[in-house]
């Protein structure tokens, strides 16, 4: 297949060898599981259980509220120990509502949804409803409800389902392992999704630094004529939806549009596998594979952990720390976030837990910008990070926005490459937050303004009408009119 070049990009130290050959190991059931009601973009789910309830594995314990919200299921059988607030797996570490479950150790499934034996005979809505029911989110990191992305087939004509197995983030090998160990499930899930999207073609894109996954997936896809497995260059941020779409189709997603506008929908490999489980076996998303890595970890591993296991459970399973980590990160090192501590739970979008040493992070105090132009050369979005940062530093957010601040995908490449170690992405994230807040503020005041104007117009209209009536009616009638008003 002919590939198309993407602009810029970097070649960070991948360090995938730390876990690349570690087969997926199941985490022994921890003593307690913590399931936050919100582990995704959108509205938190509503609690259905209360303290003391007995739950079986796969039972819905929190119901979604609207389309951009997902169900949460009991990851194992046991008792609800509490419905309480604990720190969220987010740098802020703010407490959020969480269901705490005490496993009974039996790990027995409850009654599950009926398996759909022939998914290709049912309509798209049935599959979508099943995916929504089973609480599946994008497992590549963003955590967007997958059913919403399967819906795109209704309003757009989808030509290609792109299965993202690029895994361009350093360290992470969970998708690699899933492809190597569960290729058939991934491919089946992908075919079901393509059916729901009415997409005639499926392309599985895998970075060429995963030769085993490429070979296994290619062999597994052989049986399906509408499916192609493609090696894409190992270059960060190849796994970004828009850039992967460009590399495969040669088409650039217009600013403020979706890849679906080009007829392409992108789903992660682990998501495809979850769809297979949901549709073929009626099993909800209650566990995921997490890469636990970093040079401060004693034995890095790929761990299949129930949702709600804490970071400390996983670290203990991997033999604890070999040395004191400088930073504890969830996700990959490029776009991942700092963990507020080890008490936070694994959620559906947790792809990695990294205990990094200072030497791996290699951060240092920022020097002045020497205008080397590296950040400009590598930005896959065609931005001029050095200039945007200068505007942000001078508090000129509009200027920064004019230069494309809002088009920045926060991939982190510019910060990575800067020889002066200027935290460019940190500036951009700050500025985006500030601009979004301003925008919300503006909308709010605009709404208030429209309301006020509407009221003023109404008052005026009434006054005008009254004046007209006054002019028309005989003087004697005025008093009565006023009473009636």
């Amino acid at each position: 297949m002919k590939l198309f070049p993407i602009r810029g990009g970097i070649h960070p130290q991948y360090r995938k060898e730390l876990t690349g050959d570690c087969a997926i190991e199941a985490l022994p059931l921890p003593n307690r599981l913590y399931i936050p009601l919100q582990q995704h973009i959108g509205v938190p789910a509503e609690v259905l259980v209360s303290e003391g309830d007995l739950v079986s594995k796969g039972q819905v314990i929190a119901r979604r509220q609207g389309p951009v919200s997902v169900n949460q299921h009991a990851p194992t059988s046991g008792r609800v120990a509490a419905v309480t607030e604990i720190p969220a797996p987010h740098p802020s570490g703010l407490p959020q509502p969480t269901i705490v479950i005490e496993p009974d150790g039996a790990d027995t499934w409850g009654t599950l949804a009926e398996p759909i034996t022939d998914p290709f005979a049912v309509d798209a809505q049935t599959i979508e409803a099943r995916v929504a029911e089973c609480g599946i989110v994008g497992m590549g990191g963003a955590g967007f409800p997958s059913a919403v992305k399967l819906n795109l087939g209704i309003r757009h004509r989808i030509e290609t389902l792109l299965i993202n197995g690029a895994e361009c983030e350093p360290y992470l090998t969970c998708d690699d392992r899933v492809m190597r160990e569960h290729a058939d499930e991934v491919i089946d899930g992908a075919r079901i999704m393509a059916h729901a999207l009415h997409a005639p073609k499926i392309v599985v894109a895998i970075e060429e630094n995963k030769p085993q996954a490429l070979a296994i997936m290619t062999a597994a896809a052989q049986a399906h004529t509408n499916m192609e497995v493609v090696a894409v260059p190992a270059k960060y941020p190849m796994g970004s939806e828009r850039h992967l779409t460009l590399a495969i189709t040669g088409r650039e997603t217009p600013a403020r549009k979706l890849t679906a506008d080009l007829g392409v929908v992108v789903h992660n490999v682990a998501t495809a596998r979850a769809v297979h489980h949901a549709v073929r076996h009626g099993r909800p998303l209650v566990a995921r594979v997490v890469t636990v890595s970093g040079q401060a970890m004693r034995t890095p591993k790929n761990v299949e952990a129930p949702i709600g296991a804490t970071v400390s459970d996983l670290i203990a399973f991997c033999g604890g720390f070999a040395q004191r980590p400088e930073r504890l990160v969830q996700g990959g090192p490029m776009m991942g976030a700092l963990l507020p501590g080890t008490d936070v739970p694994v959620v559906k979008s947790t792809s990695g837990i990294l205990a990094l040493t200072a030497e791996e992070i290699n951060d240092r105090p920022a020097d002045p910008c020497v205008r080397c132009g590296s950040c400009v050369a590598i930005c896959a979005c065609g931005l001029v990070p050095v200039e945007i940062a200068a505007h942000v530093r001078h508090d000129d957010l509009e200027g920064a926005a004019r230069l494309g601040l809002m088009d920045c995908v926060s991939c982190g490449s510019c910060s990575w490459v800067c020889p002066s170690h200027i935290p460019l992405v940190h500036y951009f994230n700050y500025a985006k937050g500030a601009l979004n807040a301003q925008e919300r503020e503006r909308r709010k005041s605009e709404r208030t303004k429209t309301l006020v104007e509407a009221r003023a117009a109404r008052v005026e209209r009434i006054a005008a009408q009254r004046a007209a009536n006054l002019a028309r009616k005989p003087k004697a009638a005025v008093g009565a009119e006023e009473v009636g008003a």
């Binding site: 600013a255 990160v329 205008r371 132009g373 088009d407 020889p419």
Partner: protein, 367 residues
């Protein structure tokens, strides 16, 4: 809790590259050519080199103290050493000590710290110093000598060198014209370029064969950075290989200079020097790889770097050919430096998903 974050957002991985490492690479790339040329021009050149670099470092330290910035941390970035080094490479090797010191004064406090220090200056400090010296002291700044390699007869001893550098007494009969200067003077006397080029080899103090090899290897009068284009080119290729610089500026600059030289030489060889002569003489190669590529004063966009390199090449040729000075690289670099902000503004890359004008791309089928 683990490691209080200095910056809450990622990435949690960084390149091993630093400003310090970059400067070190550039100095390393300059070393072979510098050592060879210091050998060629002997003790006076070594003394001047030391004085110039030393003065730049002292000036930088003084400026940092005055500005209240951390001295040792900033000094260690090596940028002051590089400025001094590059300046020394464009001076007549037997010039008196005060040329180096004055040059440092122009370069560091004036051209760099008056603009706000590293990264803020509009003009290349070493070139500001060189041009300021050339305009102020045209005689001293054009007193070139023929090579007197160390340990050969005629090469000044350390003691003699002291008098040359610190007392400013250049012995009689050693000055010689640079190739560019000679051709220019002869042309002004009505001697065609084609003849003076041949004559040049015979007239130079060491009477080497008049071929381009001399220009490339360095056995000819000139500054440290003008002679031995070959070794400097080697350093430049090293920088390209180590990705300290990109090809855009050097290739465009040398290419433009070569094309202009070749075209006009074909048109009238009596008035215009050939392309090879242009790129191998003067500081064309030094300028292309080490001076025009200065990060701070050249554009950050790649297209801008192409424009910049083209401009420096073109202006160098124009000044060499039509203006009063035989060498125009420094002027050309400064002129283009002044255009850098504008070039950057007009050569921004196209943003992903947008047209050149910044509008979102049309969705296909909805045009």
């Amino acid at each position: 809790m683990i490691g209080e974050p200095a910056t809450p957002s990622g990435p949690f991985a960084h390149t091993a590259n630093t400003v310090q490492r970059t400067m070190f690479m550039v100095l390393l790339a300059l070393t072979p050519a510098t050592l060879f040329n210091l050998y060629l021009f002997g003790w006076p050149a070594i003394l001047l080199f030391a004085v110039t670099v030393g003065a730049c470092v002292v000036a930088e330290a003084a400026c940092l103290v005055l500005a209240g910035k951390p001295v040792s941390a900033t000094l260690s970035d090596g940028s002051a050493i590089l400025t001094g080094w590059l300046l020394a490479m464009t001076l007549p090797p037997w010039a008196p000590w005060w040329i180096g010191v004055l040059g440092a004064m122009f370069a560091i406090p004036l051209a760099k710290h008056a603009f706000g220090g590293l990264g803020q200056n509009l003009f290349n400090p070493a070139m500001v110093a060189r041009v300021a010296l050339l305009v102020s002291f045209p005689v001293v700044m054009t007193a070139w000598v023929a090579p007197h390699p160390l340990f050969t007869t005629g090469s000044p001893t350390l003691n003699e060198a002291m008098t040359i550098t610190f007392a400013g007494e250049t012995p009689d009969g050693v000055t010689a014209a640079t190739a560019l200067g000679y051709v220019k003077t002869e042309l002004s006397r009505g001697i065609p370029v084609s003849e003076s080029l041949q004559e040049y080899g015979r007239s130079s103090a060491l009477t080497y064969a008049p071929d381009l090899m001399d220009l490339a290897t360095g056995f000819k009068p000139g500054s440290l950075g003008e002679t031995s284009a070959g070794l400097i080119l080697l350093g430049g290729i090293f920088l390209l290989w180590r990705r300290v610089i990109t090809w855009h500026i050097p290739v465009m600059m040398i290419g433009t200079l070569f094309v202009m030289g070749t075209l006009f030489n074909a048109f009238d060889p009596t008035r215009f020097a050939p392309g090879f002569f242009h790129i191998l003489s003067g500081s064309a190669i030094l300028g292309a790889f080490f001076i025009a590529t200065d990060y701070v004063t050249s554009p950050v966009t790649q297209k801008g770097q192409l424009v910049f390199g083209f401009g420096v090449g073109l202006l160098t040729w124009v000044i060499r050919t039509f203006a009063g000075y035989p060498e125009g690289m420094a002027f050309a670099v400064l002129l283009m430096n002044s255009l850098t902000p504008i070039i950057d503004q007009y050569t921004r890359p196209r943003m992903f998903g947008r047209t050149r004008k910044g509008e979102p791309l049309p969705v296909e089928g909805q045009r």
